[in-house]
C-alpha cells in the first residue's frame, strides 16, 4: 500500500466482469506524477473500462485503485466528488451536453461547484477555450462543431478545473491525421506545461509515441506488457509487438 502511495494512480489487481464476460483480470500498474501512460490493445480488451474504473464511473469486482492517497473504489458522495475534482476526463465522443452552448458546457461545473463570480467564470472559460483555439466558437451548440472541434471542446471542459490527472479515451478516433496531430499537440502541451499526469486509451500508435512515456498493453483483459515503447518493440508477445509497431 505504501508503494502505491508514491504514485498518482495505482491499480492493484483490478478485475471487472459484465455478466459472464470477464473484461479485466488482475490488472496492476502505476502512474508516476507528470507521466503519460498510453493504454493499447485490441478492441474489446477493457481499455475504456480501465479508464472508467479510474474515475469510479464503474466499480471493480475486485482490487483497488489508488488516486493519490485515496482508494477511489471505496469512496462515495462528497469524498468521491473531491477526488474527481482533481481529474479530467475526455470521452471518446467528447460527451458535450448537447442542450448547452460550448461556453455553458464549460461554465456549468464552475457555476455549480465553485463560488467563483460570473466574471471569474467568464475569464476561466475564455482562457481554457483560447488554449484549445475555440474561443471564437464559444456560443455555438455542440451540433455545430466538427469532430475535431468537439474533441478540443471536450478537452477544454476536462481542463476547466485545472486537473492534476487527465484521463483520455481515444483522442484521435474518427479524426484525420492532421486533426489527430493537433489534439496530440494540445495533450503534449498540457503534459509539458502543466505536468499533468495522463492515462490515454488509444489505437493511434503514432500519437501514443509522441505523447506517451510508457505503454500498457492489454490483451483479453490481462496486462500483457508495461514499459517504454522501445522496450516493448522487442517484446516476446507478438500481439504486443504488433500493437506497438509504428504503422
Amino acid at each position: 500500500m505504501n508503494e502505491a502511495r508514491e504514485f498518482v494512480i495505482s491499480l492493484d489487481r483490478v478485475s471487472k466482469s459484465f455478466g459472464n464476460k470477464q473484461v479485466l483480470r488482475d490488472v496492476s500498474f502505476s502512474v508516476a506524477p507528470g507521466e503519460a501512460i498510453c493504454v493499447l490493445g485490441r478492441s474489446g480488451t477493457g481499455k475504456s473500462v480501465t479508464l472508467k474504473l479510474m474515475i469510479a464511473l464503474l466499480r471493480p469486482d475486485a482490487g483497488h485503485i489508488w488516486i493519490g492517497e485515496a482508494d477511489i473504489t471505496q469512496l462515495e458522495g462528497k469524498q468521491l466528488s473531491r477526488v474527481r475534482r482533481k481529474m479530467g476526463f475526455l470521452f471518446q465522443g467528447a460527451a458535450l451536453f448537447d442542450s448547452l452552448t460550448l461556453h455553458d458546457n464549460l461554465a456549468l461545473p464552475l457555476r455549480r461547484l465553485t463560488d467563483k463570480s460570473k466574471r471569474e467564470i467568464e475569464q476561466i472559460v475564455d482562457r481554457v477555450l483560447r488554449e484549445v483555439r475555440l474561443v471564437d466558437d464559444k456560443h455555438k451548440m455542440p451540433v455545430e462543431l466538427s469532430g475535431g472541434m468537439k474533441k478540443r471542446a471536450g478537452l477544454a471542459r476536462a481542463l476547466v478545473f485545472e486537473p492534476h490527472i487527465l484521463l483520455i479515451d481515444e483522442p484521435s478516433s474518427g479524426l484525420d491525421r492532421i486533426t489527430a496531430s493537433e489534439i496530440d499537440d494540445l495533450l503534449l502541451d498540457q503534459k509539458i506545461r502543466q505536468r499533468t499526469t495522463m492515462v490515454i486509451v488509444t489505437h493511434d500508435v503514432h500519437g501514443a509515441r509522441r505523447v506517451g512515456d510508457r505503454f500498457a498493453v492489454l490483451d483479453h483483459g490481462r496486462l500483457v506488457a508495461f514499459g517504454k515503447p522501445q522496450e516493448l518493440a522487442n517484446d516476446e508477445n507478438e500481439t504486443v509487438r504488433k500493437l506497438v509497431a509504428e504503422q
Partner: protein, 253 residues
C-alpha cells in the same frame, strides 16, 4: 413474475431517491423553471386543443340524452363536473405522459448512450440531482396547472357547442355549470394530478436514466415511458378517487 417484482422494487427505490433528493440542497430552481417552461408552456397548445375538442364532443353526446330525460338544463353542470372530477385530470395526465414522458425518456436515454450522464459524474456533479430531480419536480408542478387549463378549455368547448345548439348565453351557462358545485369537486381532483406528475416524471426518468442499450435503448425508453406511466396513472386514478371519496364524502356526487 420475478421480473415484475424486480421492476417494481427498482422503480420504488428510484422514486424514494427522487423524494429524498428533492428536499436536499441545492434545490435547482433554474433547472426546474427551465423544465416547467419546456413541459408546461409548450404543452399548452396540445392541452388547449384537446380540451376544446373534448368539451364540444361531450356536449354533443350528452345533451340529447339529458333532454330525453327532461334534464337538458343540467348539461353545463354535467360538463363542469365531468371535467373537474375526471376528464380534466386524467386526460391532461395522459397527454403529458405522451408528450413529456416520451421526451424525458428519450433525452435521458440519449444522454446515457452518448456518455453525457457519465460526463456529468466525471465533472464531480450529481447527475441524479441535476437531471432527474428537477424533471420530476417540474412534472409535479406543471400537471395541476395544465389540468386547470384543460378544465377551462373543456368548459369553453362545451359552451361553444351548447351555444351553437341552443344560443344559451355565457352568463346562464356559467351559472348552471357552477351551481351547487363544491370546492371538493375541484380542488382534490386537481391536486391528485400532482401524483400523476410524480408518476410520469419518475417512470420516464427511470427508463431514460437507467437504460444501458445504446441508441436502441433511446426508442425503447421513450415507448416504455409513455406506456408504463399512462398505465400507472390510470391505476393510481382508481385508488385516488377512492381516497378522495373517503376524505371528502360530499364530493361523491
Amino acid at each position: 413474475m420475478k421480473r415484475i417484482l424486480d421492476f417494481v422494487g427498482t422503480v420504488s427505490l428510484f422514486s424514494l431517491k427522487v423524494i429524498a433528493n428533492a428536499f436536499r440542497v441545492p434545490f435547482e430552481f433554474d433547472q426546474i423553471w427551465t423544465y416547467v417552461d419546456e413541459m408546461g408552456v409548450r404543452s399548452l397548445p396540445l392541452v388547449a386543443s384537446s380540451g376544446l375538442a373534448l368539451g364540444v364532443v361531450m356536449t354533443l353526446h350528452t345533451r340529447n340524452v339529458l333532454i330525453m330525460f327532461g334534464a337538458g338544463a343540467m348539461s353545463p353542470k354535467l360538463q363542469s363536473l365531468s371535467f373537474f372530477v375526471e376528464i380534466g385530470p386524467l386526460v391532461a395526465a395522459l397527454l403529458v405522459a405522451g408528450r413529456v414522458g416520451a421526451s424525458i425518456g428519450a433525452v435521458l436515454a440519449d444522454m446515457r448512450a452518448t456518455e453525457q450522464i457519465d460526463a456529468v459524474e466525471a465533472l464531480s456533479m450529481d447527475s441524479f440531482k441535476l437531471l432527474v430531480v428537477p424533471r420530476v419536480v417540474a412534472c409535479v408542478l406543471v400537471l395541476p396547472l395544465l389540468t386547470m387549463f384543460m378544465d377551462f378549455c373543456g368548459l369553453i368547448g362545451g359552451y361553444l357547442s351548447e351555444y351553437n345548439l341552443s344560443q344559451l348565453s355565457l352568463r346562464l351557462y356559467s351559472t348552471r355549470a357552477f351551481a351547487g358545485l363544491e370546492w371538493s369537486n375541484f380542488v382534490p381532483p386537481t391536486l391528485k394530478t400532482m401524483v400523476f406528475g410524480f408518476i410520469i416524471g419518475t417512470v420516464s426518468c427511470f427508463f431514460g436514466y437507467t437504460t444501458n442499450e445504446g441508441a436502441e435503448g433511446v426508442g425503447r425508453a421513450a415507448t416504455n415511458s409513455v406506456v408504463v406511466s399512462s398505465l400507472l396513472c390510470i391505476l393510481a386514478d382508481a385508488i385516488l378517487v377512492k381516497i378522495i371519496f373517503l376524505m371528502f364524502p360530499e364530493s361523491a356526487v
